[in-house]
Subunit: 254 residues, 2 copies
DNA sequence: ATCTATTTGTACGTATGTATT
DNA sequence: AAATACATACGTACAAATAGA
């Protein structure tokens, strides 16, 4: 269980809690543990690793911070393997971009390439429920906003349209990346005033593109879905032109 | 500094260390601390939060696990704000996909959309050094492999070509996503035997596409760079056809 | 090279909180 | 309601690492 590599007296790359955390991770994989499975309790881990409670607890906090375990108190409690939630993954990745000065243009470069791909892959696969959900979402901004607050809410809602689509993708990588970008843009919309100045023409076009997209998705027309989404992204991208706002000057908490 | 929201006696959503960690994060943002800046020491934090040493330390481990701080012992030591490294971010995101049964096809759906975008955006912007590095990389697999080990090494090296390109992108989001996918594929190549059966034709084509790509990049021909990369991805994608291997049955340690 | 001060790292005993039975 | 089984938190003592005198 201990690392086979012999190390000289004090060659500490990692702190002890970190090493314990790594070993537990490895052990979980070796045992083939699945989400919901219980890990050994604190006392047993203390014995196994011959370390004090504090050290073990710090290791568990590390795993918990990474979203890999959840801990419950009480009888039958303890630490349990947990599937990393999408929210946690988005938060952790968001921390990386906190330091990166992402621009809106950067995000749209990817959206323009990926959203049409998503639209095409979803054409003809969506349930009536989801199609209805998409239409209900569009209905939230069928009428132009009257106040600035409403404008902001509509902006966020129209982004949510894409999150709903992303959720439906079979491809979990594509799904995640698009969802993550929607989050970035939503944060940006709320924290900066990305929704001003109000542009009615682009609002109307966006709404119409989304409506046409739902039709194409329902009809199962992959080509049309891709084309409409491409046009939609081009239009949205144009809205942002000149917006070289720095973003993400905060951490996300999940 | 303590949360303004009054909560009923025992309404604990988060453990105390987690709450401390969140507050410290928020504080770092408010203070506008930058990588390298020092955080208060353990004793001061114990006083500030009126909590025991162990609790504070668990909070610090959480921040460390997220890659946001580094801690050193000794005089002048302490915890320091740290820019989340790309390696850490990739590892944390990798944990998310551990549970997701990603397929090679999933990854290539994104690569096919994004790699040409990257190629186009890099055309004419690369230094002689980078162009030379790319050519040196290609040289590693200019001759067909003789052993299976060599074949594997060449496979990984040819993926590295794309990591070098990704590193040059101005768009840090595009850069990260492509780099991350290259990592996924490298892991897959090593842990599954993705390099068999050996296919000389596709090896030769891949090598030639990369060579032509370097020429287009050097010439600054965005259109050609995009087209060559698209063809390259289509070919590589074809190599994987029928490969519906489950992947990522392990955690990544950074 | 040695000592010393500073700061994190580890250990352990005790008490409290929490949820199941 | 009470006993039980577990994590959570505290306080103190001591060990280890590192920079500087």
């Amino acid at each position: 269980m201990l690392p086979a590599t012999t190390r000289s007296k004090t060659e500490h790359r990692l702190s002890r809690p970190s090493r314990v955390a790594e070993e537990i991770k490895q052990w979980v994989v070796e045992q083939g543990l699945l989400p919901g499975d219980r890990l050994p309790g604190e006392t047993e881990l203390m014995a196994r690793f011959a370390m004090a409670k504090g050290t073990i607890r710090e290791a568990m906090r590390i795993l918990e911070a990474q979203g890999l375990i959840k801990t419950r108190t009480g009888p039958g409690g303890g630490s349990f393997v947990h599937e990393v939630s999408r929210g946690r993954a988005k938060a952790l990745l968001g921390n990386y971009f906190y330091f990166k000065d992402l621009t809106v243009g950067d995000i749209y470069q990817l959206r323009r390439a990926l959203e049409p791909e998503l639209a095409a892959s979803l054409a003809g696969t969506l349930s009536q429920e989801v199609l209805a959900e998409l239409e209900a979402n569009i209905a939230q901004y069928s009428e132009p906003a009257t106040t600035l607050d409403e404008e902001r809410a509509q902006h966020v809602a129209s982004l949510r349209f894409h999150a709903i689509l992303a959720e439906q993708a079979d491809n979990s990588l594509l799904s995640f990346v698009i969802d993550f970008m929607v989050n970035l843009l939503s944060d940006l919309t709320v924290h900066r005033k990305l929704y001003e100045p109000i542009n009615r023409e682009l609002w109307a076009k966006g709404r119409d593109y989304q409506a046409r997209l739902v039709m194409a998705l329902r009809a199962g027309d992959k080509g049309a879905a891709r084309a409409v989404m491409t046009a939609h992204m081009d239009t949205a991208s144009r809205l942002m032109r000149g917006q070289e706002v720095e973003m993400m000057k905060r951490f996300i908490d999940e």
